[in-house]
Symmetry: C3
Subunit: 434 residues, 3 copies
Amino acid sequence: MKLKILTILMCVSVNNLFASDISSTTDQVLFTINNIWMLIATFLVFIMHLGFATLESGLTRAKNTVNILFKNISIIAIGLLTYAICGFNLMYPGEFLLGNYFGFAGWGITNPPGIDGLVGYADGAYTYFTDFIFQAMFAATAATIVSGAVAERIRLSSFLVFSTIYVAFIYPIAGSWKWGGGWLDQLGFYDFAGSTLVHSVGGWAALVGAVVLGPRVGKFHKNGTIPIMGHNLPLATIGVFLLWFGWYGFNGGSVLSADPGPVSFVFVTTTLAAAAGVVGAMTVSWSISKKPDLTMVLNGSLAGLVGITAGADVITPMYAVVIGFIAGLLVVLSVLFFDRIRIDDPVGAISVHLTCGIWGTLAVGIFSSEYSFLTQLLGVVSFGSFCLVSALVIFYGIKMIMGLRVSEEEEMIGLDLGEHEMEAYAGFQIFTVE
Amino acid sequence: MKLKILTILMCVSVNNLFASDISSTTDQVLFTINNIWMLIATFLVFIMHLGFATLESGLTRAKNTVNILFKNISIIAIGLLTYAICGFNLMYPGEFLLGNYFGFAGWGITNPPGIDGLVGYADGAYTYFTDFIFQAMFAATAATIVSGAVAERIRLSSFLVFSTIYVAFIYPIAGSWKWGGGWLDQLGFYDFAGSTLVHSVGGWAALVGAVVLGPRVGKFHKNGTIPIMGHNLPLATIGVFLLWFGWYGFNGGSVLSADPGPVSFVFVTTTLAAAAGVVGAMTVSWSISKKPDLTMVLNGSLAGLVGITAGADVITPMYAVVIGFIAGLLVVLSVLFFDRIRIDDPVGAISVHLTCGIWGTLAVGIFSSEYSFLTQLLGVVSFGSFCLVSALVIFYGIKMIMGLRVSEEEEMIGLDLGEHEMEAYAGFQIFTVE
Amino acid sequence: MKLKILTILMCVSVNNLFASDISSTTDQVLFTINNIWMLIATFLVFIMHLGFATLESGLTRAKNTVNILFKNISIIAIGLLTYAICGFNLMYPGEFLLGNYFGFAGWGITNPPGIDGLVGYADGAYTYFTDFIFQAMFAATAATIVSGAVAERIRLSSFLVFSTIYVAFIYPIAGSWKWGGGWLDQLGFYDFAGSTLVHSVGGWAALVGAVVLGPRVGKFHKNGTIPIMGHNLPLATIGVFLLWFGWYGFNGGSVLSADPGPVSFVFVTTTLAAAAGVVGAMTVSWSISKKPDLTMVLNGSLAGLVGITAGADVITPMYAVVIGFIAGLLVVLSVLFFDRIRIDDPVGAISVHLTCGIWGTLAVGIFSSEYSFLTQLLGVVSFGSFCLVSALVIFYGIKMIMGLRVSEEEEMIGLDLGEHEMEAYAGFQIFTVE
């Protein structure tokens, strides 16, 4: 690696890596391809946020659609900005301050000057800026997961405050334990792309939010559960396909290079697990309810994807099918279970992201001989405890200070008119469904 | 290519291609870029399945939307899994068993051990896993094409059985004749990315399905045809744009490397043919019906894309415009023709994929001096005979064993309530359109 | 660069860059990755056209949806074809004919023979065909921007004629002044990816169109403005996310290579500006109207994106946040301003693309020490004058020759029934909103 020292990227003009007088070397070219793949993975993860927005709004009622879309576009913006302000440096602190549990590298993003922020940054795989932007896209995901479970009854401002705190502090601190090189990483815990670090972190907060808020009006009656149907299943389907699509960046980018072996391997395991999740969910839901349930099958593919995420690079394709299939079964049973214990999760976010996130993390300990089941379990429990307590504290704090739930009247007319004085489908005749 | 032998990819840990002690070579880096482009093409082809799902549901009635979405998410899952189980090894058998007509390399996907499955696999262009996953994404396409033509009246389980058989056996066996190095390949038949191997294979089965099922109730009357309008044209438009978008992977990936000359050439021919297809369909439909018909123009772009697919790498940009324009004319005339002979194809799948697939395949023999028109015609006829007979046998078998069509009553209330007990747009006031 | 001379790309067979008998060199591999990144950027810019189509139809009324979708699919086709016929050679004339104001390299696209059109074309960064197709995707954007501002009242054929002329001649001639190496380029004017060259060029014509046409029936009353709500906000949200997604190609591709430093830098500035635009628009609109307005927040992200486009490679991340935030404020104030002066822009296209395009161009002169504010202002004024006059002449010419606006009766029943005899949502009960 002998290229000349570049001027600092942060200054007005960005120097061209190859604009030097020497010919490019093989390492420089390899660096270029690794870096561009990470940026491609970045835009793929970005579009997952559209997937979340459409899935969530499709699976809820028309009268709350504006509210959900507003939350989703806000969360990605807030997640990206807070990650630039403090999240990135909390998650990758370099040095820890409190015994591998907490560290902070300072406010804002600061590109190491010259060649250090460029080719010297990540073993010649990508630049500092690529590292930041790829990780930043992940950050908002956790908060978006919560959004689905608390939909149709949480106050907008309260949700935005919760999300900001959770994504700015809780997600990156927890993440530092593994990806930042913290204590769980040192114990040998494995989570390739975030079954626990992203999906469960969101899932635990989703669970807490759903419990603290209570169910939507009309969801549970003395004699059982009344299903509240989503208002736009094509929209939900768009969401699922976009999430699957973006997952090729989520998992494929988590290789952290364009290395052909692992990236192509991860594409295969990710794909087969998603497909097996569809078949798993189809099998169990068709058996139980005697009818082919579209929303279950859609969630089945996401279940398979969440399930394979922790071990996409270390699970064989055959076991990826097994993991995905079981995730597809689990998500259906989990949805029924949470309905049974009267926790109301409008879009099945807890079942998809928490249940299958735990499953995927443990599955690494089961199907890969390299990792310990007990360490995986320790990781699940540690993340669970931290996230449960944190989410509980934040949600209760918000509840006491500013309130958490909209009025029953507002819930009945819908949050679109109540909070936004706007309709998602102006002109369409829509029945209010309760 | 002198890099050290890598450990087997299928084992617990996937080795890094460049993690060896030697410095990376130019060939290794070229391999990395070729491989990553093929994976990018893979996720582009994946999103075409969302394109099919939205196009097809947008062009049919609201009461059958859940059913169509369910079919589409199921088909991609089934297609991927069956391709892993047997399709890939039927399509690329290595050695043929029956005189270049049929071969089978065994069940499941088996990565050649060590370097052979990695850089030694495809002339240093991509890994075994990349090869599998790229081809697997193509496989489900053929079945999805059928889905459109038989929509709104086929029983869900019957369709799933048909698709599974067709995608697991018929598509790969036919495909082996050309892409697997079989008899048509040896005769000099050319089909770059699948005007015949993918689109016509789906189109022939679509034709058989539409004929065997018969038209939808109310479509044809004594005095002519009653158009049954699609219920959501924004959704259909999303579908067309996503298909066009994905086609950059479908055609661009069919170069089988990132080689700058051919890939950029294919981008240009593909784009210009699609654009010309829009203009062609606009011209003829506006002339005939005196009004600018959105669905015709949308199908025009797909017609141009299907038309250029067989020869995207060997047709000059100017001829790509000609081929696309003619495809745009043809698709409109073909839709009118099938209405005239009372074959009911709700979304125009036969016209787009079969008519223009044939046109594109023959066009290679017309506009490229390198290929013989007669050989192209032979390819069209051979694929047509095989697919027609196969589809006929399977559809009739299913009809006898389990029935093919829903009851007239179910067709009237819609398959969403009939098969799924679910509505796509809960809460919306929708008239039943017959 | 010693690879053997390749045969001409335009002939029947496209030669493989690396199929020669010599081993590939580092420069060849770097060329391959640069070229493939530009093609990736190309398909990202392509999907922005779906973003425009969905955003625009989502923000207008259901009765004009078919019309808008028809315009958008037509414009991309027309834009691509005219760019092949003359646009590309007007924008990049090589030699100017009229003192660096106008040049023309001839009709059609003509690949320089042999190696010159391949690796010798753009300093070893990409092929001739890549250059053409990337630029062609930009071309149609300008016309699409106009579409939003004149929506719901312009005659389809008149709009198509306007767009064809504007995209075929005005856009490329104006563009040649900077990107073609013309007089503004020589004066030191800077516009990285088109705040002025693309967005303002569209925005000026949008302004002229909105003024010449006059407001929609019922929009302005004696006592103020009556908001006409969009009919499908999920569709509009899909549009915004897809535009943001595609912007990674729009700005990322404008680096014109895969060079790791600048591309990753541009990803960061683009992302942070978009996020800050959301927060800026949220802040000001929530303050003014006391309610969280989804459409303002959506436009805020686009405002941030347009704002950063002129300087994405030379603005520091912190200033990118500032520019995006201010753009978010500006777009809201601009929408209110145009309502106040009774210029009716149904989707806010003028505010997003013109107001923020000007802001972004001037911001380069403010936040980057390398560029002069006055030169940036000169560029804005020059483009503005040329586009205003051109658009005025074309719109008035069309108005005199063939008429510009649909009848009031047609406007009331909607252009879908009036121009297309088609409904976007057949079967749905929709109130006519005036």
